[in-house]
């Protein structure tokens, strides 16, 4: 087993509110892990700790066997483990192409031509090539999210973290974004995806983690979790979701 990320005894408190309690799980390279769970169960906080946007209170996050919580070079780790947000978070002052290019020229210090070539490649991959001159405010939600994915991919990360990438989208745009993620999964891209799209999670993931109240309640293959969950809580959660 080729573990690229391993989370050990991770805990996170906001004041005295313990949002994550002793979280342990690992991610295999080339596999897709979905995290499901009710709103408020700590899924976003977990991803944000893994991208170091939140500082974990205790525990370890091992990336290629090194604890990133004590890392001196946070920006360089973030280029390896990127993140895609629910709210897209595109740079509003830049057009689509610039959004992708800026990380390449300024963070990875690539020369302009190389950066442009690569950006265009990833924008093509997400089907946004025709819109390279558009500003984010001129795009639909689904288009914005595809640009955000291209921007993250352009950094050539080893792992991408997705925090509810389709939750802010109108229903008719969910499909176009899920398709992009599905294509990445088929290429064997390592991803951790927080999602409420159960059918998608079941289809695309190699591993599913169910979180409840800041702990991992149950984890396993999609078949185990969706067809034969062991725990009552998991059954209840899935039941509520499939009856929606």
């Amino acid at each position: 087993m080729n573990e690229i990320i391993k989370v050990e005894h991770l805990s996170k408190k906001f004041g005295n509110h313990e949002v994550l309690k002793d979280i342990n799980f690992s991610v295999e390279a080339g596999k897709v892990t979905s995290i499901i769970g009710a709103s408020g169960s700590g899924k976003s906080t977990l991803l944000r700790c893994m991208n170091l946007l939140e500082t974990a209170t205790s525990g370890k996050i091992l990336y290629k066997n090194e604890n990133v919580l004590t890392s001196k070079n946070i920006p360089s780790y973030r280029t390896k483990v990127g993140m895609v947000f629910q709210g897209f978070n595109l740079f509003e002052n830049m057009n689509v192409l610039q959004n992708c290019k800026i990380g390449l020229t300024k963070v990875l210090k690539e020369d302009k031509e190389q950066a442009e070539k690569e950006s265009l490649h990833f924008l093509e991959k997400v089907g946004m090539l025709p819109y390279i001159n558009a500003k984010p405010r001129q795009l639909s939600g689904g288009q914005k999210q595809r640009v955000a994915i291209a921007r993250a991919l352009a950094m050539k990360p080893d792992v991408l973290l997705f925090d509810e990438p389709t939750s802010a989208l109108d229903p008719q745009m969910v499909g176009e974004v899920l398709k992009v993620i599905k294509d990445l999964a088929n290429e064997g891209f390592t991803m951790i995806i927080v999602t409420h799209e159960m059918a998608f999670a079941r289809e695309v993931s190699n591993y599913v983690v169910y979180m409840k109240d800041g702990v991992i309640c149950e984890e396993g293959s999609p078949e185990e979790i969706f067809n034969n969950p062991n725990k009552e809580e998991t059954k209840e959660f899935l039941h509520r979701f499939t009856n929606l």
Binding site: N51, L53, T55, P75, S76, R78, T79, G82, M83, F85, G87, F88, N89, L90, F91, E92, N93, M94, N95, L97, Q98, K101, I102, G103, T105, K106, V107, L108, K112, E116, L120, L129, P130, Y131, I132, N133, A134, K135, Q138, A148, R151, A152, M155
Partner: protein, 266 residues
């Protein structure tokens, strides 16, 4: 020697002929102090505003935290002092005070530029801070998630947007400075107001001289407010965008701007 005409317009023409150059020189002085003071003030404002918004993280080493905290407190004091006292009082205090307290003979011009800059800086610091805080947090996180440092995030993402948002405030400050440089007459700077005082005294043509000066001030402020409005529009960029495609047929039909050379970020 010329005799003073009896009617209002005659007197105006007389003053313009005789003292037009003096008034224009005064206006030039006013403008240059106001423009340079505003530019330097904005730089100070950006510097202070950016420092004020550096997050203090408990992960940093303790010395860095204390140092940052101390700098922020000092900058706060600076902002409060210069926003909270009249510029004319500051002018007297700094110009005469520096000589008595520190034995520095600051020349009048240095003092003039210094006072307007430092005053504008104090106002702009708060404006810039607000401008930075008004940019949604998400964009900062988006920048951090691709590995940008705090400095890069500020430089490429936040400040360009904050700058656009505070352009009206910068314009406001410039206009206020054009008017308020007249307080520098108190330390002997011959700007437009001082020049007018001299001119009006010569023939007791107070009303006429100040009529001319009113017009000069108004022309200057209106000109700059229009100019800044124009820059604002430029900063907004085009309202629409053109689709680009690799389809060469579309290329010849002219719908293509690919890649859009003039719109590149660098």
């Amino acid at each position: 020697m010329n005799t003073l005409p009896q009617d209002f317009f005659g007197r105006i023409v007389f003053i313009i002929q005789k003292y037009g150059f003096t008034l224009l020189e005064g206006a030039g002085t006013t403008l240059i102090i106001a423009v340079i003071g505003t530019i330097v003030g904005c730089l100070i404002g950006f510097f202070v505003g950016v420092i004020q918004t550096i997050p203090i993280s408990k992960k940093d080493n303790i010395l860095k935290q204390i140092f940052l905290k101390l700098v922020k407190i000092l900058l706060d004091i600076y902002v409060e002092v210069f926003r909270g006292t009249p510029m004319m009082v500051q002018a007297m205090f700094i110009f005469y005070g520096s000589a008595i307290m520190f034995n520095i003979r600051m020349d009048m011009w240095t003092a003039a530029y210094f006072i307007v800059s430092i005053n504008t800086g104090a106002y702009m610091a708060e404006t810039v801070r607000g401008g930075i805080l008004s940019i949604p947090e998400g964009q900062t996180e988006g920048a951090m998630a691709i590995g940008m440092t705090h400095f890069q995030t500020m430089l490429y993402v936040i400040i360009p947007q904050a700058l656009r948002n505070i352009m009206p405030q910068i314009g406001n400050n410039l206009i206020i400075n054009i008017k308020d440089t007249c307080v520098l007459s108190s330390i002997g700077v011959v700007e437009l107001f001082f020049a007018t005082k001299t001119v009006s005294g010569a023939y007791y043509t107070v009303f006429e001289a100040y009529s001319i000066t009113m017009v000069i001030y108004l022309v200057m402020t209106v000109f700059f407010s229009k100019l800044l409005r124009f820059f604002e529009k430029k900063l907004n960029g085009p309202k629409d965008y053109s689709l680009s495609t690799t389809d060469t047929l579309a290329y010849t039909s002219g719908m293509l701007k690919y890649p859009d050379k003039e719109n590149h970020y660098e």
